[in-house]
């Protein structure tokens, strides 16, 4: 038994390293009280090491800790995505005025970031319903605190409290759904649940209720309508770095867990040879997700049009993007899954980039209002051009990476004959163009109000911006590697 545990632990190195990082960051904060930089370097090193250890797991496919988690290409893909986001966010934090102003609490900030990353890693790999709940709680608890990290600002505390209330309700609903699933099947691991559902006669109504309750939990994590109410307030109140982190990594982890849950439990075994999956007899859960997807992208885009705060605008835009990505889950095919994965890679760069610009501008002007961006294109041409590229990419226009992400999603939809959904998605993209361009108009076609001086940035800040900007352009033209990687990463571990 001891040997088995050690063997499992060897597949669990990334998570172990993150756990150690959490502890070291806390202790380092006590010893070096004045040195926030050191703690940020420690957490950066920890997350980088974890990311490196994840790359060693590429190609592995096995179950660890008696079916609690899986180390498979699917989990590895999302872990890499999360680790990359985490590294970028730690770099952001080093330049964020909001975070640097509270350097006395830096240890808490960075150790919670590492804990958040750990929770998301576990979410990406969890194959047991209990493990899923635990991982989600670890992620949620860390993000509640981080959302309220700048506790001197009232809206930050408000964000944290709202986040907790919504989070507690949805995880309660999800747990209830899981308890029903356990009652129906007598298993908590996804394979056991699937076996029982495929072979036995389960009550259709009970399964439907349980699935809807569980969707409430997942929907909250990926901020899908109608579980999205926390998103704008939390995104607006939380520090920009945390908002950016939540909008990318938290969503990715939620999607990873949701996809694994639905494809592993509510389908008829393995996919067919052409890569399509079959939903359980008589229970087409993908139609529920299709409705959610339409609601999510339509509401996200329509409400974003009215926003005057850029963080709120990006919050609604991230809701809309969750809707687009849900379309890839709805089609029930490997192609659709690959499209979701491609979209996430693209989304990582463009969304983090947009939030980074918001942070840089807020550092200088202290405002996140769209009005304060008037003339920004002339006050800082670099910021102006970068924002144009990120927003064009978020809209999904060529030659940026956002176009490639949308292209693969729509191809997957059309292949599976979900034409009406593709049409809704396309119309939504057009709507989104309006509110993105509204910001760009302020930047280039309006004269600056008040202070019109040039804004300069340090070399480090420019380098981080370029690190996000170049892939956003490059993947629009040279996208073969991410497509190949995504196609190889749709494999989920399953018991034969």
């Amino acid at each position: 038994m001891g040997r088995q545990v050690l063997e499992n632990l060897s597949n669990f190195w990334p998570e172990t390293v993150l756990t150690i990082t959490v502890c070291v960051a806390i202790v380092a904060n006590l010893i070096f009280r004045k040195n926030a930089k050191l703690i940020s370097y420690i957490s950066l090193a920890g997350v980088l090491t974890a990311g490196f250890l994840v790359t060693r797991q590429i190609g592995m496919s096995q179950s660890v800790f008696s079916g609690m988690a899986a180390v498979d290409p699917f989990a590895v893909f999302f872990k890499l995505l999360i680790a990359t986001t985490s590294v970028v966010i730690i770099l952001f934090s080093m330049y964020s005025a909001e975070v640097q102003a509270t350097f006395k609490r830096a240890g808490e900030y960075y150790s919670l970031l590492a804990a958040l990353t750990l929770g998301m890693f576990l979410m990406a790999g969890a194959t047991n319903l209990l493990m899923m709940v635990l991982a989600m709680e670890l992620t949620s608890l860390s993000s509640y605190i981080l959302a309220g990290y700048t506790k001197e600002a009232p809206d930050s505390s408000e964000a944290s409290l709202k986040y907790i209330i919504y989070g507690a309700l949805s995880s309660g609903l999800m747990l209830y759904g899981i308890s029903i699933i356990f009652g129906l099947t007598g298993a908590t691991d996804v394979y056991g649940v699937n076996r029982a559902l495929v072979s036995g006669q389960t009550s259709y109504i009970a399964l439907l209720v349980a699935s809807i309750l569980i969707i409430a939990g997942f929907g909250y994590k990926i901020s899908a309508v109608p579980f999205h109410f926390w998103t704008p307030d939390v995104y607006e109140g939380a520090p920009v770095t945390i908002t950016a982190f939540l909008s990318v990594a938290s969503k990715a982890a939620g999607f990873a867990m949701m996809i694994r849950f639905f494809f592993m439990t509510l389908t008829v075994g393995a996919p067919l040879s052409d890569g399509t999956w079959l939903a359980l007899q008589g229970f087409e859960w993908n139609k529920i997700l299709a409705i959610l997807s339409v609601l999510t992208m339509t509401l996200g885009n329509l409400v974003a049009v009215w926003q005057n705060n850029l963080k709120r605008l990006l919050a609604y835009s991230s809701i809309a993007h969750a809707g687009y990505m849900l379309m890839g889950v709805v089609v029930l095919s490997d192609k659709g899954l690959a499209a979701v994965l491609i979209y996430f890679v693209v989304y990582l760069f463009m969304n983090l980039g947009a939030f980074y610009v918001v942070m840089l501008v807020a550092n200088k002007t202290g405002s996140e209002d769209i009005d304060s961006y008037k003339g920004m294109g002339y006050r800082s041409p670099l910021i102006g051009v970068a924002m144009v590229i990120f927003f064009i990419s978020l809209t999904g226009l060529p030659p940026t990476a956002g176009f490639i992400g949308k292209l693969f999603l729509f191809v997957a939809l059309l292949d599976a004959k979900w034409i009406w959904l593709a049409v809704v998605g396309a119309i939504n993209s057009v709507v989104s163009l309006y509110y993105y361009v509204r910001v760009l108009r302020n930047m280039f076609l309006r004269d600056p109000e008040g202070d019109a001086g040039l804004i300069r940035f340090s070399p480090g800040q420019v380098i981080i911006l370029l690190v996000l900007l170049i892939p956003t352009l490059l993947f629009g033209i040279y996208y073969a590697p991410i497509v190949e990687f995504a196609n190889a990463s749709v494999l989920m571990f399953r018991i034969q």
Partner: protein, 118 residues
């Protein structure tokens, strides 16, 4: 079927009789010298009758949270101690990892001054 539960009924009856008996014996034989302090609900605690909407220090929450954390540690220690021999060296190492993690938290709480009242 019901005969199997016979000992339990005896136990309940015995418990009730013994409890009432002891209370009554105490009442008859013991000295009774009540004071105002002694007959109040919480002899050395707070006043039981007044408005419930009183503000009290947020420090109580901190103490309560810390108590729960370290209380749970002890709760986990008991089953480990009971099955220590079966778990062997693996259980020993696992438990020490657990305690080490908690120790980090304890040092943090201590150094941050959360254990001091003022």
């Amino acid at each position: 079927m019901i005969e199997q539960y016979y000992p339990i009924f005896v136990m309940i009856a015995g418990g009730v009789v013994f409890g009432v008996l002891m209370g009554k014996v105490n009442e008859f034989l013991g000295p009774s010298r009540p004071t105002e302090e002694k007959s109040s609900t919480y002899e050395s605690g707070m006043e039981p009758i007044k408005t419930a909407r009183e503000r009290f220090s947020i420090k109580f929450y901190m103490v309560a949270m810390l108590f729960i954390i370290f209380d749970i540690e002890v709760v986990f220690l008991y089953p480990w101690a009971v099955s220590y021999k079966q778990l062997g060296i693996q259980g020993f190492v696992t438990m020490f990892v657990f305690i080490a993690v908690l120790l980090v938290g304890y040092i943090y709480v201590w150094r941050k001054g959360a254990l001091e009242w003022d």
